[in-house]
């Protein structure tokens, strides 16, 4: 599925706790979108001094809404680009590229799956849950955040799963602690065979470690900083082990953002492992 660049139009923007949910009319993107795909938005308008695209997981799409085909994302204001996005209102134009990346791999057989989301990292997990359930899978959720307003989709998760565990670091909702505190018990109870996760790198690494300890596969959607989102800038790389056993620096935008947890060299993110293909061997580097 090829990505398209669309001059979209904001349909609506609403506050959800500490986050913003933005719906854009963007013909051509919804049609090819699968759970785990993302979009890259230009921010600040055509003369913006902020050139790099902002990447967001797709929360949900509508192929044939009354306003046409729409894409919805969820974001937190963390800098200039997201502050500008939060100020968009209905009918504002928005340059959007998508669908991008490799989506979550879906099982061929009905399996038991646990979906783990940190903060608004839960956004892509709800369409994933729908598709898993349509394949006869049991779906449980573990959602966590620092505080209640930073949880996203707790009610929605309840509606579409067998069990939900909620954690907040300050105890404002659910159990006090982190998703990784409750994940082992959840996997044990359900006998999960696969864990899907989206959230900060540290959480993904811990989720993968727990999944592996309980013999479950993991599919992790990573968050690496990107400039383009389409595979040309080479900034969003991380060390990943390939089918041939070799480690390569892969682009998380086109070879990810979803990776098998056991293929990512979590401890080596931010470095070039010495055994990676093309790793520096001599003093002469460029």
């Amino acid at each position: 599925m090829a990505a398209v660049q669309v001059r979209g139009e904001v349909l609506s923007i609403r506050r959800v706790g500490d986050y913003h949910a933005l719906t854009v009319v963007a013909p051509g993107i919804a049609e090819g979108t699968r759970p785990g795909h993302f979009v890259a938005l230009a921010v600040g308008g055509p003369a913006s001094a902020t050139l790099l695209r902002r990447a967001f997981s797709i929360y949900r799409v509508q192929e044939r809404g009354i306003y046409g085909s729409t894409v919805e994302i969820v974001f937190a204001v963390t800098g200039k680009g997201t502050a500008w996005l939060a100020e968009r209102r209905a009918h504002d134009p928005l340059d959007i590229v998508g669908p991008l990346g490799r989506p979550f791999a879906l099982p061929k057989e009905p399996v038991t799956a646990t979906l783990v989301g940190g903060g608004y990292g839960s956004a892509p997990l709800f369409t994933l849950a729908e598709q898993l359930r349509a394949r006869g899978c049991r779906v449980d959720f573990v959602l966590g955040a620092s505080s209640e307003p930073r949880l996203f989709g707790a009610l929605e998760a309840k509606r579409m799963s067998t069990q939900v565990a909620i954690t907040t670091e300050d105890g404002t909702l659910g159990e006090r602690g982190r998703v990784t505190d409750v994940l082992p018990a959840m996997i044990k109870r359900s006998g999960a065979e696969v864990v899907y996760a989206c959230g900060p790198m540290g959480m993904l690494r811990a989720v993968h470690t727990i999944a592996e300890a309980y013999g479950a596969h993991s599919q992790c959607a990573v968050e690496e900083s990107m400039a383009c989102g389409i595979g040309v800038c080479m900034t969003c790389v991380l060390p990943v082990i390939g089918d041939d056993g070799q480690t390569r620096m892969l682009r998380s935008c086109v070879e990810g953002p979803v990776f098998r947890g056991d293929r990512v060299r979590w401890d080596d993110i931010g470095t070039i492992p010495a055994d990676a293909v093309g790793a520096p061997v001599e003093q002469e580097q460029r």
């Binding site: 398209v4 800038c233 790389v237 991380l238 070039i272």
Partner: protein, 358 residues
Amino acid sequence: MTRMRITTEKPGARPLPPVYMATSLGGATIPNPMLTASGCAAAGRELDQFFDVTDLGAVVTKSIMLKPRSGRATPRMAETASGMLNSIGLQGPGLDAFVDTDLAWLKRRGARAVVSIAGSSVEEFTKLAQRLRNTDGIAGVEVNISCPNVENRGLVFACDPLAASAVISAVRRSTAPGIPVIAKLSPDVTDIVEVARAVVDAGADGLSMINTSLGLVIDTQTMRPTLAGVTGGLSGPAIRPLAVRCVWQVHAALPTVPIVGMGGIRTGLDALEFILAGASAIAVGTVIFNDPGAPIRVLHELQRELGDRGFDRLSDAIGYAHRPHGVPAEPTADESAGDDEAAPGDALAGREHKEHRG
């Protein structure tokens, strides 16, 4: 494959004016002046989703080295005002894999390909050029002697006229006659004309300018450099005046040498500045990250800006800003004397448009 062509043209906009856009790329003729800047377009395949890469003057591929290269650690990128720093460190699959996959794809696709090569020694550059000599379907070789992301600044060949000319003469000798060899220069030198003259004397058929300029961003939260590699190359509209100055100086000194102008081109007017300063071709780089459709959009905008100023041919505009004082702004004023429908009004309109630019 679905393709959405993005232009700034609104439906029902005027058709593009008839301007003859063919130009010289180091002696070879290409149908239009628009190239992709090396390192900003991979090998064209990703961008082919957004526009037809065969519509470009040429795809300039990301610099390739002899062997696979992992590049530098992350973070590799920092956003800056109207630009960015990058510290990729020439990550790539090595020449053999590049030829078998990327170049093969460009050939199948029918795109003109300028292959950018990078080496850490004259020998490596020579081997790269020799290997490419046996590969058909190459429109040119760009020699990246100016990547700033090296541990040892002494390895930036383009910072030293002697080292730069040693690389260029070796590549020129090893490249088939008729295939242009283009030297990519760094702005981080005291006298870019001296380096330009040295590489032209060594056999360069053209010059690409500019590569990124060395920069550094400090993260005020961690109170350390943002990039893992500490320094990076600054690119984007922030460096455009620096790039236009380099093109101006070199064109003034070496008016017959074809120049590919680049550095922060975002619009047709930006591209026009480079042409007027003396570039015969242009490349869009960092702006592709903002707008993947930029190369074709900017090409069309440039054509319109040229037409609005009364140019029938791109080549008439090359270096036009260097004309002596007293020569009118309207390029076809003499020929169109007595013609009521002539273009001075359009040329004026063009200037007004320019003043309105943010």
